[in-house]
């Protein structure tokens, strides 16, 4: 209980810091710490899958995207555009949110009618799903649509970013960081272990916390470490193949979702005898494509500098 209070106090302090801090790097560092502390909140709420995903995304990957964008911004602006200028509209917003807060908090703490939730139903039907871990069962069988369209959202984000970016002379590569003995060895030691670890998480998802997304995110971290330390072959050697890997998730989910229609079933109704195997294949495809998406997101973030070069070349 003391632990919960400590976590809660830290979360509120950090969110207020994000609101009030002037320095941009302070905001980003607070956000990373916020993500790390949130991991503890998920652990305390007995949501291991969320804790794993939050640790990998909030503590790892968002850092990469945010600090990368910070490096792009120039120092003079960072300090000047901080502040907390309160206009009439913003004052009203603040007042409004405080007024909304009171009934929301009251409603939440009053408790009242407690519904049993969907937990018992999931427990009852879990044998039909083909996996033993309830969260995986919901994610990949009972609410197949959610995950299907989640993969679509990731793919759409990449397509949109690539469209924004346009064609660039250097293809899908990151502007090379400094190559360096220590970094090279770090990548050589860490990324194989991370890839192995992501396979372990994928395998684990069937009966325990873990699964396609946690695995995909860890794989993505491994690939980003490689891309950041100059090992970009997997992006550059055969761009078509790498892009196909990015689409694998949507392809897998569409296949598994549409195939039952051919057999005369409902959309996304996994065949009961084959559910376990179908899920394993779909999960592997989803993990691979999530993993490959992350270096692509990072590459596609490098918009403006590449644009400058393109415009210079054409003029």
């Amino acid at each position: 209980m003391i632990l919960d209070w400590l976590v809660v106090v830290l979360l509120v302090i950090l969110s207020l810091t994000i609101l009030l801090a002037r320095d941009l790097f302070w905001v980003v560092a607070s956000f990373i710490t916020f993500g790390l502390v949130l991991t503890l909140a998920w652990s305390s709420l007995q949501a291991p899958d969320l804790a794993l995903a939050e640790a990998a995304i909030g503590g790892g990957l968002m850092t990469l995207f945010l600090i990368d964008s910070l490096g792009f911004s120039d120092p003079e602006q960072t300090s000047s555009a901080g502040g907390f200028p309160i206009t009439k509209l913003q004052g009203l917003t603040a007042l409004g949110s405080m007024i909304v807060a009171v009934p929301l908090l009251r409603a939440f703490w009053a408790g009242g009618a407690v519904s049993p939730g969907l937990g018992p139903l999931v427990e009852q039907k879990i044998e039909l799903s083909g996996v033993e871990h309830p969260v995986s069962a919901v994610l990949l069988n009972f609410r197949f649509f959610d995950t299907w369209f989640e993969m679509t959202v990731i793919l759409l984000a990449i397509v949109a970013l690539q469209t924004l970016r346009g064609r660039t002379p250097r293809g899908d590569s990151l502007p090379s960081g400094q190559s360096d003995q220590v970094l090279t060895w770090f990548a050589r030691l860490l990324s194989p272990v991370l890839i192995l670890f992501s396979v372990y998480l994928l395998w684990r998802g069937k009966h325990a916390p873990g699964g396609a997304f946690q695995s995909g995110v860890v794989l993505g971290a491994a690939l980003s470490v490689l891309a950041l330390t100059g090992y970009q072959d997997f992006l550059l050697r055969s761009p078509v193949v790498s892009r196909l890997v990015v689409t694998l998730g949507v392809v897998g989910f569409s296949g598994a979702g549409l195939f039952p229609l051919v057999l005369g079933g409902e959309l996304a109704e996994l065949p009961s005898g084959w559910a376990g195997d179908t899920i394993l294949i779909v999960e592997t495809m989803a993990a691979l494509s999530t993993g490959m998406s992350i270096p692509y997101l990072l590459v596609a973030l490098q918009v403006p500098k590449d644009k400058v070069q393109c415009e210079e070349r054409t003029s």
């Binding site: 400590l6 291991p48 503590g59 850092t63 990469l64 970094l183």
Partner: protein
Amino acid sequence: MPSFVFGAVVVFLLANLAVGLLRLAWGPNAADRVLSVQLFGTTLVAVVLLLGRVWQEPWFDVLALVLAFLAAFPALSYNRRVPTRSEERHRDSL
């Protein structure tokens, strides 16, 4: 080993982390803030390991491993910030 010993250590480490937030606030360089985040990451690995023993949940070790593996990301992305011209010159002379 009574689990309240581990619990006390967890509370101590989290209090430590809360005090460390001051360095996050003071800065003054970006590097100092990356340093504090690094310290928080390591503290959390310890906290998660201990909590796994207190609550008897084996998956906490997996979580600690994820945290430990990805602890280098802030420094890794910080290092990628485009170096200014003086940095380039300094590096070339090394």
